[in-house]
Symmetry: C2
Subunit: 314 residues, 2 copies
C-alpha cells in the first residue's frame, strides 16, 4: 500500500516513524511543510524536514523534539563570537546537515533532491519530500499588531504572544514539488498527520494546486487530530486555534479538513466528539493517538492501515 | 614601529603572537599564505589564516597546533554519514568560522575583508591579511611521480612522501592583496617568519609583484630561520628542503631569502653557521628562536624589535 503523509514537525515526525516501521521500505512518502524554514548564518534551515530526517534515521533527540541526540554546540558559541544571534539553537551535527544541503543546492539540486540525497545517505528508505521547492514563509501577526516571522514567534519569543493572523508569504507564486504531486497521484492512502493544522498542515494545503491534487487523488484520505482533550500535545496549536476563531478541539481541526478527508481519527479521550465530527461529513475512528514510545508510533500507524483495509472492504 | 610579518602556519603564528604582545595594538600586520587553502564540504578552508586567527585571539589549540582549543567534532561525524571524507579534521567551532567567512564572501567580501571582519569580531587588533585575494594552490609532486594537492600530501598522507617538486597552481594570475601592498609600503620592519620557506613563505613571494614590493619597501627586513639544528621544529620543511636540493639548515633557508633581507636570525644552536650566512650578504643575529611558552614568543619578538632599533642606529 502506497502511503502519503502530510506532516510538519514533531507529531507528524512521530507518525512518519510509525508508518515507516509498519510499511515495506519505500512505500511511505512524507510531504513536509517548508513554510517555517528560515536562514541562519547564511544557510537554509528546514526545521520540519530535518526533524523528520533525524526521526526517521534514528538520530533524533527525542527529549528535545528537534536536532540530533547527543549533539554539541561549539559552532553556536563561535557564531556568537562572530556577532551572530544564537537564540535559534543549531547543534554542530545539525549544522553539518545545513552545510551539506547548502552545498548540494549550490551545485544545482532542488530542495527536494537535496533532501532525498541526505535521507538516502542516512539510510532512510522513506521518501522525504518538500511540499514545494519554492520559497514560502509563515508570518505571524500578534496581538500587539506586529507581524513577525515564524521562528521569531516560535523560538525567540517562545510562542508567548497571542496569534491574530497567519500569512504564508510568497505562497501564491509556489508550485507543489513534482515529487509531492507524483506521490499524491499514486497513493492508496493519504494521511494528514497530527501536526499543527494552522502552521504545519495549513501551508502545505495553501500551495496552489496541492489541495486540488489531494482531492483529485483516488487514495483513501484520513486526518489525525493533533489536538487531544482540547490541548496540543506539544506547541501552540491549541491557543492558536482559539485566538484565530476556531474551536480548540478535535472538532476544530476536523472542520479545517472538511472536504479533504473521508475519515478523521480522534484520541480515546475525545470519543464523545464523534457526532460533531460526523456532522461534517466524515467517518470517525477512535484510536490511542498519543505517541510516546516507538511502540505507540507503530501501533497508531498499524491501526491507520487497518482502517483503510476496512474502508477498502466497505 | 609598523611591523609586517610574512607567515604561514604554526611557527609564523607563534611569532605573530609574540609581536602582537610587544607592539602597540594595530601596529602589526601579518601577511598570510593562502596557497594551502582548500575546499571542504563546499566551504573555503584557510588553514594558515585560521591558525593565526585562533592563535592571536587566544582560542588556539596549542597542543594540536591548529583549530580551536576544546573543540568538538560532531559535525565531522555527521559529514561522514553524508559520505564526505573526514581525514581533514575540521572541528565544530572551526566549521563556524568557515561558514561565517563563506557567508561574508558570498555577500561580496574579499578574503582579506572577510578575514579582517572575523579578526575584529574576535577582538584582534593585529591586521590579518591574505597575501592575495586570488586563488592559488600548492601542488606537490612526490617521488612516485604523482602530483597531489597540498592537503592530500600534508594531512591525508601525513607528509610521508618525498617531495620532488612544488608548484603554485594559478599563481601567475594572482595579485598581492591591496592590504598587503599597503602594509609593505608603510612598514618600518618586515619580518619573514620561521615558517616553511618552501610552502609557506614561498607562495607569498611567488605572487607577482609581492617580492618586488618587499624589495622596494624602505623597511628594515629580517628573516628568521624555521630550521633549528638542521631540523624543522614542526612539519616537513627539513625533508622538503633536502629533497628539493637545498641544504636542510638555516643556511639553506637564508639562501632562499638572499637579496630579500638584510639580516637573518638563527637559533643559538646554529651560531656556528653565521659565517656561511654572512657570505650571502646578510648580517646574522643569534637568538633563542624556539617558542614554547607565551614568554618565549614575546621574548623573540622583543629581541627582533631591539635588533631593528640597533639597525636604525647603525
Amino acid at each position: 500500500m502506497k502511503v502519503v503523509l502530510l506532516a510538519g514537525g514533531t507529531g507528524g515526525a512521530k507518525l512518519a516513524h510509525g508508518l515507516q516501521m509498519v510499511l515495506p521500505p519505500g512505500d511511505l512518502t512524507v510531504i513536509v511543510n517548508v513554510a517555517d524554514d528560515t536562514e541562519r548564518f547564511g544557510l537554509l534551515v528546514c526545521p520540519d524536514l530535518d526533524t523528520i530526517l533525524y526521526t526517521l534515521s534514528g538520530l533524533a533527540d527525542r527529549e528535545q523534539g528537534w536536532g540530533v541526540a547527543g549533539d554539541t554546540s561549539s559552532a553556536l558559541a563561535m557564531f556568537e563570537r562572530y556577532g551572530e544571534e544564537a537564540w535559534f539553537r543549531i547543534g554542530d551535527a545539525d549544522l553539518a546537515t545545513l552545510v551539506h544541503r547548502d552545498r548540494l543546492m549550490r551545485e544545482g539540486s532542488s530542495l527536494t533532491d537535496a533532501t532525498a540525497a541526505t535521507a538516502a545517505a542516512l539510510g532512510i528508505a522513506t521518501h522525504l519530500v518538500a511540499a514545494t521547492d519554492d520559497r514560502m514563509r509563515t508570518w505571524i501577526q500578534t496581538d500587539s499588531g506586529e507581524e513577525i516571522d515564524f521562528q521569531e514567534y516560535f523560538v525567540h519569543r517562545g510562542q508567548q504572544e497571542i496569534v491574530r493572523a497567519v500569512r504564508f508569504d510568497g505562497v501564491e507564486a509556489t508550485h507543489p514539488s513534482q515529487a509531492a504531486l507524483d506521490a499524491l497521484a499514486t497513493a492508496d492512502l493519504v494521511v494528514i498527520g497530527p501536526s499543527n493544522p494552522i502552521v504545519s498542515i495549513g501551508p502545505i494545503l495553501a500551495i496552489p494546486g496541492l489541495r486540488e491534487a489531494l482531492v483529485a487523488s483516488s487514495a483513501q484520505r484520513i486526518g489525525v487530530s493533533g489536538i487531544v482533550g482540547g490541548r496540543a500535545l506539544r506547541g501552540p496549536a491549541d491557543r492558536m486555534l482559539a485566538s484565530l476563531g476556531h474551536e480548540s478541539s478535535a472538532v476544530g481541526v476536523a472542520r479545517l479538513y472538511a472536504g479533504l478527508v473521508e475519515r478523521f481519527v480522534v484520541d480515546e479521550v475525545d470519543a464523545g466528539l464523534a457526532p460533531a465530527i460526523e456532522a461534517l461529513g466524515m467517518s470517525v475512528s477512535v484510536l490511542p493517538t498519543v505517541m510516546v514510545s516507538d511502540d505507540d508510533r507503530a501501533r497508531l500507524a498499524a491501526a491507520l492501515l487497518e482502517l483503510v483495509e476496512g474502508m477498502l472492504g466497505e
